[in-house]
């Protein structure tokens, strides 16, 4: 007699608890909505001289550590300018994303060809296009690894079973790497895209969706070698340079920047690009991370 009653009452408690929980959940939603709605609309103090501006930047994945530091310096000097969450992805992804309807003010890619694509898509204002940085291509290995490479062709040595390379269609570092590999016969197309890897070598190649992923998989030891930019060394722990790819085996590595055509704050965006190139404090950041500000 007693047992079923006590079970029933505890079951009651349980159901009441369930109802309260679901009520809480439902009630919490408007609160969140209000909270989330109120954050962006909080009026930023506007002085007549400086209208608050929030710039959205799409930047090559390799700039992930350096660019936010430069942005912080810029906001310090120009308190009316803040930055939305900057998107760091493979340059090809960013161009597709812009074409797909994402809104941004500035695009910085890691190769001239990806910027050319953005230009022919009509995504950028070509008159604002400017070469921002030079970079070098290197082969990295896990930190402390004893492997030695003295030539480009050595990446096909039997001791290496996995070599990380960026997807040439989305990751400029990947197409630069393939251009270099084509000079030693490991890749079939000298443009770095659309070709095949040499039989045997192709099985070793692990294609990655961003240069950051290349660096990361090498740092974890999952790949013994990877093709990244010099600047990637300084933003990732756990990798070290094994070989500097000769600059004459691939196209010059240039990072073009441009104001996006649909930007509603094009003047402010252009100002920031100019700041990146000419400010001595910004230069310190770029130099630290190995980005050579273009001539």
């Amino acid at each position: 007699m007693l047992k079923p009653i006590s079970q029933e009452s505890s079951a009651h408690r349980f159901h009441v608890l369930a109802v309260i929980l679901s009520l809480l959940l439902v009630l919490s939603v408007p609160t969140f909505l209000v909270a989330c709605g109120s954050q962006p609309t909080t009026p930023t103090p506007q002085t007549p001289s400086a209208v608050a501006v929030e710039l959205q930047i799409f930047a090559a994945n390799s700039l992930e550590k350096a660019l936010p530091e430069v942005q912080a310096i810029y906001t310090q000097q120009n308190s009316n300018v803040t930055f939305a969450d900057t998107q760091f992805k493979g340059s090809g992804d960013l161009v597709s994303q812009l074409q797909g309807g994402a809104s941004a003010d500035i695009l910085i890619t890691a190769s001239a060809s990806t910027m050319d694509n953005a230009d022919s898509n009509g995504s950028i204002d070509a008159s604002t296009r400017v070469n921002m940085f030079n970079n070098d291509l290197i082969i990295v290995k896990p930190k402390g690894s004893s492997t030695k490479i003295d030539s480009l062709a050595a990446v096909n040595a039997p001791e290496f079973s996995r070599v990380a390379i960026g997807d040439p269609d989305a990751v400029p570092a990947g197409s630069y790497a393939n251009q270099s590999l084509s000079t030693v016969g490991l890749y079939s197309d000298s443009s770095g895209k659309g070709g095949e890897y040499l039989e045997g070598f192709g099985d070793k190649v692990v294609v990655q969706s961003s240069v950051g992923n290349v660096a990361k998989t090498v740092s974890t030891g999952d790949c013994q070698l990877g093709f990244v930019y010099t600047s990637d060394l300084y933003r990732y722990d756990g990798i070290e340079s094994a070989f500097t790819v000769p600059a004459d085996t691939h196209k010059a590595i240039v990072y073009p920047g441009a104001v996006v055509k649909t930007s509603k704050q094009a003047t402010e965006a252009a100002k920031f690009l100019d700041f990146c190139l000419n400010d001595p404090e910004a230069l310190k950041v770029w130099s630290e991370y190995g980005f050579e500000v273009a001539k």
Binding site: M1, P4, V29, A84, D85, Q97, G101, A102, P280, V293
Partner: protein, 497 residues
């Protein structure tokens, strides 16, 4: 400032509470401590020299001078200033800064004359040279981060106070003021040869008295863990919660509606409809994401029509909600439909003979009977919405504080080299998932037990007034409904999970 501090503390407390519910906390804390200590140990390897936490200052026992404002520049620039070409230049820490330039075969260390005099340093003294080199090497190792270090170069140092010198046909100038207040090391050539690859890298630092600053030990143990928690951006948690909660409201209503709708259909239509409702569960999330992007994006007529009418969804928070709804909906729909289908149609017919309207039957009979399944489906749908990654990344992107949910944060933090933060989020997601499954299991076993219990006690415990029991039925379970409805015991439909 205080607001953000409070927010930080609240967040940290929240997670400490959350983590506290799992006995694995000590190990997790330990793991974080260990990763933080690794860096410190590396520095400690350079016995006598102690390096500041942010790697910009170093001092050593037995040397009255120390280095501060240290920086290593892995590249310089050939960019001209105000139309003037200065060759290739590396920044310096100031007018009085030490300049280090690693070129092939040797490393120049420039100490301005007046600074050497001020610190009573004879830079030709090998003891002084060794001390300065040791300080530089310790700082260099701390910031080189995989680049070639001074130690690895293992080449002789050339200490100099000459501000101009020649190296291999290139002119090197130290401490040149290019812009007001900004000093540089310049490398230039008289002919057309490229000065940009003369140096491997450059470094700079200021000489300061050793007693002008102290170096704090790196925080350890709980303090390090606390600092770690305080440094985490908790927005992915709130974004996840917000997105899944809003998605859940839609999923709940749509799922129930679709399940009810599919019951009324004739069989052929039902099969087709059922496939449509269920397909997001079978499709890879990237396919859902792709289709959503095509539907709402800029590249199709429909998407452009929407955008022209002010509905810009792609890469916004509503897109994340839509993605979550699409992937979570089938879970709600299928569990609910399963429960509805298992209900005894005789019982429903009996209700109809009593004159109940279809609406009343749905809300007063079917829903209460199916409630355990609905509850489980709701929790599962919520968990699925929280775990959504592929479709969200496709249509909503990765905007911190807007669309960056926990799964997306894990991927991008890992990719960005911040494995410790990724680990933290993994831990949080595992804990949440564990709680969700535990909740479903407890709930299921509870209703199961209750049904058995009430079955045996039904004859004596059933309230004499059936209507008094209806309130209980409305929130609870199927078997007690069998007490009020004149039908055979309902078959097990509640614990399909």
């Amino acid at each position: 400032m205080t607001h953000s501090a409070v927010y930080r503390i609240v967040n940290a407390l929240l997670f400490v509470l959350l983590l506290g519910s799992v006995p694995a906390l000590p190990q997790a804390a330990l793991a974080v401590e260990q990763t933080q200590q690794e860096g410190a140990e590396q520095q400690a390897a350079d016995e006598a020299v102690s390096v500041s936490q942010n790697n910009d200052a170093a001092k050593m026992a037995g040397f009255d001078s120390a280095l501060s404002a240290f920086a290593r520049y892995n590249s310089g620039t050939g960019r001209s200033v105000g139309g003037v070409d200065y060759g290739y230049r590396y920044p310096l820490a100031g007018a009085d800064a030490l300049a280090v330039l690693a070129v092939e075969g040797l490393t120049y260390v420039y100490v301005p004359d007046h600074i050497a005099a001020q610190f009573h340093l004879d830079i030709r003294d090998s003891q002084v040279q060794a001390h300065v080199a040791q300080l530089l090497e310790a700082l260099d190792v701390a910031v080189s981060n995989g680049g070639t270090t001074l130690l690895q170069l293992a080449q002789p140092y050339a200490f100099t106070s000459e501000s101009r010198l020649n190296h291999d046909g290139f002119a090197i100038e130290f401490g040149v003021e290019v812009e007001p207040g900004y000093f540089y090391t310049l490398i230039s050539s008289s002919d057309s040869s490229d000065p940009s690859h003369v140096a491997y890298f450059a470094e700079t630092a200021l000489l300061v008295p050793a007693d002008s600053f102290t170096i704090d030990a790196a925080p350890e143990g709980l303090e390090a863990f606390w600092n770690f928690l305080g440094g985490i951006d908790y927005r992915p948690f709130w974004v996840s919660l917000r997105t899944s909660a809003v998605a859940l409201i839609f999923v709940f209503i749509l799922g129930l509606g679709a399940a009810r709708l599919s019951l009324r259909m004739n069989n052929r239509v039902k099969d087709v409809l059922d496939s449509v409702f269920t397909i997001p569960m079978v499709l890879p999330p990237t396919v859902c994401g792709f289709l959503l992007l095509v539907a709402f994006g800029n590249s199709t007529a429909f998407g452009r029509w929407l955008i022209d009418h002010g509905i810009e969804l792609v890469f916004t928070w509503p897109a994340a909600v839509i993605a979550a709804i699409v992937v979570a909906f089938p879970l709600m729909y299928r569990t609910t439909r399963g429960a509805f289908e298992a209900q005894d149609s005789d019982m429903l017919d009996a209700a109809r003979t009593l004159g109940w309207s279809e609406g009343r039957i749905f809300f007063r009979l079917m829903l209460p009977l199916a409630w355990p399944s609905i509850a489980a489906g709701t929790v599962l749908a919520f968990a699925r919405a929280m775990g959504e990654f592929g479709a969200t990344l496709f249509v909503a992107g990765n905007y911190a504080g807007v669309t960056q949910t926990m799964p997306i944060a894990i991927y991008f933090q890992w990719m960005g080299g911040r494995t410790d933060i990724a680990t933290f989020w993994v831990f949080v997601v595992v804990v949440i998932s564990f709680i969700v499954i535990l909740f479903i299991n407890l709930y299921a076993s509870h209703t199961q037990r209750f049904r058995k219990g009430s079955g045996s006690g039904a004859a004596t415990d059933a309230p004499s007034d059936p209507s008094a029991n209806q309130a209980t039925n409305a929130v609870s379970n199927g078997s007690s409904a069998s007490q009020t409805m004149p039908v055979a015991p309902v078959p097990t439909q509640t614990d399909t999970l």
